[in-house]
Amino acid sequence: MINITNLHKSYGQLNILKGIDLEINAGEVVVVIGPSGSGKSTLLRCLNLLETPTKGEIRFEGEIINDKKHDINTTREKMGMVFQSFNLFPHMSILNNITISPIKVKKMDKKAAETIAYELLDKVGLKDKASAFPAQLSGGQKQRIAIARALAMQPHVMLFDEPTSALDPEMVGEVLEVMKSLAADGMTMVIVTHEMGFAREVGDRIIFMDGGNIVEQGTPDTFFANPQHARTRDFLSRVL
């Protein structure tokens, strides 16, 4: 579904990504872990071109999306993204947060968009918050709404950029629950996280990044039980 070849990203002299090769298959849940500054968020943000790669190629469903002639907006419709800081639109009700994109981008009629929105609100357990505003919600609730908002575009893949890092500890669980149920529904997911327990439980594949490279990857069982590289062992010994 996503094919990344020799992906480089640098800011001036600073090289963040140093030649990433990665393939992500439909239905797969890929969890990216690594120390801060390892380039994992940058990699995720390159997937929907919030960051423009310096070199290399990203294909999504066969199309090269970082080609100048490619219309990235059509690709972004199919890629949902959830941010660390939620980024809900503070001037809109929860319902409008969820329906604005289907209505404006997909030209869906308001009724149909609202039907989808209510289904999603039900799915994330916040049906009673439709008319609330973001400022009235807790962090965990905001993030669940952000997930619902991304899902409203009926994406083919969901990108999560440290979705629980800005949350109070007691709210992490509710967000992870929603993500687990998404994974169980067969959604393709790429997740950057520090939640090792979640990675082990839900991930189909763990990717460990350090210094702009993919150091090691594998299934959760082999990865956590039997890491091959010294850097991976060192990292795991500090976070587990």
């Binding site: 929907n48 980024n87 001037h91 604005i100």
Partner: protein
């Protein structure tokens, strides 16, 4: 007969002046607001000449006196066969001048919107213009509402300059009263009071709007 009784005798004169001032200010505010928005969108455009035009416009209109701009539009242009009516000239001059200030206010407002808002909107497939229209501008305008209100108050006061081309606004009518009564302090205090009533009302209205649109991040 005291001074204030004399002023009361001229109430219709003051009122007609206030009417003209309000009409002129509203026209200038509407035109200036739209022009200001256009200027700030040009300032952020990917097309370099539009950016240069916008930046130059702001510098020139902020950097030269409104009175000179007004005279250029009313007297200067007529030398070249462009004979604009007085009211049109006055409204355009105030609007063009105000657009420069509003553009800078809007620019500050847009810069104040969190970049995460743009990323969220773009990640949902919105184009740049949709993002600007539905996500960034509504938040930017709310953020700078006090500054916009301030600019509107300035417009009401500065519009008194159109007296110089003979528009019968509040300042002009005050001069009429002065010339009729041969008094200065009374008519001028009356004039100041009338301006204050207009600006104070507007300032209270802006305050109400601010509270109505308030939200927390």
């Amino acid at each position: 007969m005291n001074m204030f009784q004399a002023l009361w005798d001229f109430k219709t004169t003051y009122l007609s002046g206030m009417g003209m001032t309000i009409l002129l200010s509203i026209s200038a505010i509407l035109i200036g607001f739209i022009l200001g928005l256009l200027l700030v969108l040009m300032r952020r455009s990917a097309i370099a000449p539009l950016r240069w035009f916008s930046a130059t416009y702001v510098e020139v209109f902020r950097g030269t006196p409104l009175l000179v701009q007004l005279f250029i539009i009313y007297f200067g242009l007529s030398e070249y066969g462009v004979d604009l009516p007085k009211f049109t000239s006055g409204a355009i001059a105030v609007a063009l001048n105000s657009a420069a200030y509003l553009a800078e206010i809007f620019r500050a407002g847009i810069q104040g919107v969190n970049q995460g808002q743009v990323e969220a909107a773009r990640s949902l497939g919105m184009t740049k213009s949709m993002t600007m229209r539905y996500i960034v501008l509504p938040q930017a305008l709310r953020n700078v509402m006090p500054a916009i209100g301030n600019e509107f108050i300035t417009i009401i006061k500065e519009s008194s300059i159109v007296t110089f081309i003979g528009i019968a606004d509040l300042m002009f009518q005050t001069e009429v009263i002065r010339n009729t009564t041969y008094a200065s302090m009374g008519p001028l205090l009356g004039c100041a009071l009338c301006y204050f009533i207009m600006t104070f009302t507007l300032s209270k209205m802006v305050g109400l709007m601010e509270r109505k649109f308030k939200y927390n991040d």
